[in-house]
């Protein structure tokens, strides 16, 4: 094999690897982007189907409901103009309160109930997920 051929083959191999790697990386990037929507945007039909997304809103005061001894809780999220009913099975964050801003990640089930797989609240007084911060400042 001539050195020229070898170099050509080498370059092709490198390009192929880099190309394949970037393809997978970009695809994974696309698949794992989580969109953040407000309840109004969800009602307007902007929610992606068949994949999880995040909804941010305030927990409506008086909407929180949980059967004694059950891990599943239900509450309503609102952004002031639209609201969405959320169901979550698991431990709620320490800072979960009615009237507080939270983010729920999940998707709708067939009965149009939003099944959350994760609920985020403010971390502490100083740190909170960016969307909650924006939401609270906009509603104040």
């Amino acid at each position: 094999m001539l050195p020229r051929h070898r170099r050509f083959l080498g370059i092709c191999l490198v390009l192929l690897t880099v190309g394949l790697a970037s393809f997978f990386i970009l695809k994974s990037f696309q698949d794992n982007l989580l969109y953040y929507l407000t309840p109004s945007e969800v009602i307007a039909g902007k929610a992606p189907e068949d994949r999880e997304f995040r909804i941010g809103g305030l927990v409506v005061t008086g909407s929180f409901f949980r059967q004694t001894g059950s891990l599943t809780s239900q509450f309503v999220l609102t952004d002031g103009s639209a609201s969405i009913e959320v169901s979550y099975k698991g431990i709620l964050p320490d800072l979960f309160r009615e009237g507080q801003g939270i983010i729920a990640r999940g998707k709708f089930n067939s009965a149009n109930l939003f099944i959350a797989s994760e609920v985020l609240a403010k971390h502490d007084e100083n740190y909170m997920p960016p969307e909650i911060h924006a939401m609270e400042t906009s509603l104040e």
Partner: protein
């Protein structure tokens, strides 16, 4: 009075840093030895002033001087004394002061180092001058935007108290360690730039390697400690969250690791000089980027950053100045070297290849961390990049990285590839065999990825041991640092693979006297009581853990409410040994004596922190055992 002295000391440090910078420039016609004496003095004065300024702040903290805004916001009279000291770096202003002190401290270690030959005097003067410029900008930053000595009037009777999350021994020492690592990278940065200005000096690589290993040690320790803290303190039992703040420390670590390896080649073979220089510049730039991400408020919201832009903008400008300036200098002054002729599988090329993988790992982390910020800034669209992205893409550089880490142990400088493959094949087969046996027969088969992870962990550990087995006793100590670092890496990979594949974690309800099965273990909730701590009240659960009907331990997970802030804090109950962690976090009272609980079983979790610990041992051997050895060898 004391805070004003602190203020004055900061201005003294500013002046010293300015002079340190100016003396390095060829503005004055003073002879070299006088220059050297002066620049050393000013480096020392700068460091001492900042140290005394920290002492002033500490004194005010201990005396509860709430007329100082920073102390009023971060302390109160009930805070235990050790945390009053840790509160010095508990928030933005103080942590920058600590950052600055560590920078000037590393500067002093460089100024008084005996590693420089007589020909390298200018290298030392230039690098100290560059460090002076870095210090100058950051002292200005502190004085103008983040002054910890600022007073408030009227003085409040009581302070707000330290964030309860930070009231923990591991977190109290975590920032100093991590910062020491971050700013330590300023030294190789300064040396690399100084080497561009002194074309006849070639010894920068050897000197830079010492300080790179140094800060790499601190970074490794800081990251591991942070991960351990997050595991037991945040209450969710995870050890890595791909949180932007974590990523900000991981990126410089990856590049610093690449830099350590690249500097070996530059020092021993005179190759990759430009590459090492570039890596040194990137490593420090990523440190600055980390500081920016954590300290600017940009992570809370791009828009909150825009509404209070002073601090973030200042750091952003500094990043632009240092990175841009350094790259410009690099473009203008880099030494043209002869075209490289590398054997495909020689040690040089394998090291280069792995550095490329390390840098691409850093790049992938950076894309995932910065992309949401950029997108929000550009079109206000809000997205987040979740852990699945990072967990997936990090495999692309890491799998080949681990393969080549092992292969490199068989390679020789300028060696031929055919021999290498032949020599490594037996160990490779052995590793594959062990990996397959363990994953198929001993553990239950999980996914192909688990098997690959196990094989690679075994491969890395065995090949890491090879230099110890093969070498004669005289060179044993010489090979020890590399061996330990690679064995540590293998152990960490083993821990990560087994924990993520075979760990069990879920939320469930537990009533008093009721028990739940987690893998082969049974968790039984006995009771829940109230307890009062020094500055909090808590609900404490008593959970007994059984294995095959034998009681193996009792844990006491807590839910604490601190006096100063309303939200409660979760303190996990952990029963751990080297082989597995059993973890219980208390959830909420669901009524009727039933509580929700977070339960988990994580096999080999401890290896994830044992690995970095062994890596650190390797680095310590290199710095403290090898140095005297090589010096005696020279004399």
């Amino acid at each position: 009075m004391i805070p004003e002295i602190g203020q004055l000391l900061m201005i003294t440090a500013l002046a010293a840093a300015l002079l340190q910078f100016l003396i390095g420039l060829k503005l004055f016609t003073v002879d070299q030895s006088l220059r050297m004496i002066l620049i050393k003095r000013f480096t020392l004065i700068q460091c001492l002033s900042i140290f005394l300024a920290i002492c002033c702040l500490g004194y005010s903290f201990l005396n509860d001087d709430f007329s100082v805004l920073y102390i009023a916001l971060n302390s109160n009279t009930n805070l235990p004394v050790p945390y009053k000291i840790a509160a010095i770096w508990g928030a933005h202003e103080g942590s920058l002061l600590l950052w600055m002190f560590l920078l000037s401290f590393w500067g002093v270690t460089l100024a008084f180092s005996k590693k420089f030959n007589d020909q390298d005097k200018m290298l030392k003067i230039y690098s100290l001058s560059i460090l002076g410029l870095v210090s100058l900008s950051f002292i200005l930053f502190i004085i103008y935007t983040s002054n910890p000595f600022e007073r408030i009037f009227p003085m409040p009777d009581q302070g707000r108290g330290l964030n309860p999350l930070l009231q923990d021994p591991a977190l109290a020492i975590h920032p100093p360690i991590l910062y020491a690592g971050y700013v330590g990278l300023a030294i190789p940065f300064a040396l690399a730039l100084a080497s561009l200005l002194t074309p006849h000096s070639s010894s920068w690589a050897g000197i830079a390697r010492i300080w790179t290993i140094n800060s790499w040690l601190f970074l490794t320790g800081g990251i591991a400690l942070g991960s351990w803290w997050a595991y037991y303190e945040l209450g969710w039992g995870g050890w890595w969250f791909w949180d932007p703040v974590e990523n900000a420390s991981l990126m410089p670590w990856l590049v610093a690791t690449a830099l350590v390896h690249s500097l070996i080649v530059t020092e021993k073979k005179g190759l990759f000089n430009s590459f090492s220089t570039l890596l040194a510049i990137i490593a420090f730039s990523l440190s600055l980027l980390g500081t920016f991400l954590v300290r600017s408020g940009v992570l809370i919201s791009v828009h909150s950053f825009a509404s209070d832009p002073e601090r973030g903008l200042f750091i952003l400008m500094l990043i632009g100045l240092f990175t841009g300036g350094a790259l410009m200098l690099f473009a203008l002054k880099q030494k043209r070297s002869a075209p490289l002729k590398l054997e495909l599988l020689s040690r040089e090329s394998l090291l280069l290849l792995n550095n490329v993988f390390l840098c691409s790992a850093a790049g992938l982390v950076m894309i995932g961390t910065l992309y949401p910020l950029v997108l929000e800034l550009v079109n206000s669209e809000k997205i987040s990049v979740g852990p699945p992205y990072f967990n997936f893409v990090i495999l692309f550089p890491c799998i080949p990285l681990l393969i080549f880490v092992g292969l490199a142990m068989f390679s020789a400088w300028n060696g031929k590839g055919s021999k290498l493959l032949l020599r490594s094949s037996r160990v490779a087969l052995l590793s594959i065999l062990i990996g397959l046996v363990v994953s198929l027969l001993i553990l239950s088969y999980d996914t192909p990825l688990t098997t690959i992870g196990l094989i690679l962990a075994v491969w890395t550990i065995i090949t890491g041991c090879l230099p110890l087995i093969r070498s004669r006793t005289s060179s044993l100590v010489k090979n020890l640092p590399m061996a330990l670092a690679h064995i540590g890496l293998g152990i960490m990979v083993l821990g990560i693979t087994v924990t993520s594949s075979y760990g069990i974690t879920f939320d469930d309800t537990l009533g008093f006297g009721q028990s739940k099965t987690v893998g082969e273990y049974e968790f039984k909730l006995i009771t829940i009581n109230d307890r009062t701590g020094p500055n909090y009240t808590a609900k404490v659960a008593m959970v007994e853990i059984y294995s095959e009907n034998q009681k193996i331990g009792t844990v006491f997970p807590e839910k604490r409410v601190y006096d100063t802030t309303s939200p409660s804090m979760t303190e996990a109950g952990i029963e751990a040994n080297l082989f597995r962690d059993l973890f219980v976090a208390l959830g909420e009272d669901l009524g009727g004596d039933i509580w929700s609980m977070h339960l988990q079983y994580k096999p080999l979790l401890r290896l994830i922190w044992l690995g970095p610990f062994i890596m650190i041992l390797g680095g310590l051997v290199r710095l403290f055992l090898l140095k005297p050895l090589s010096e005696t060898a020279n004399s």
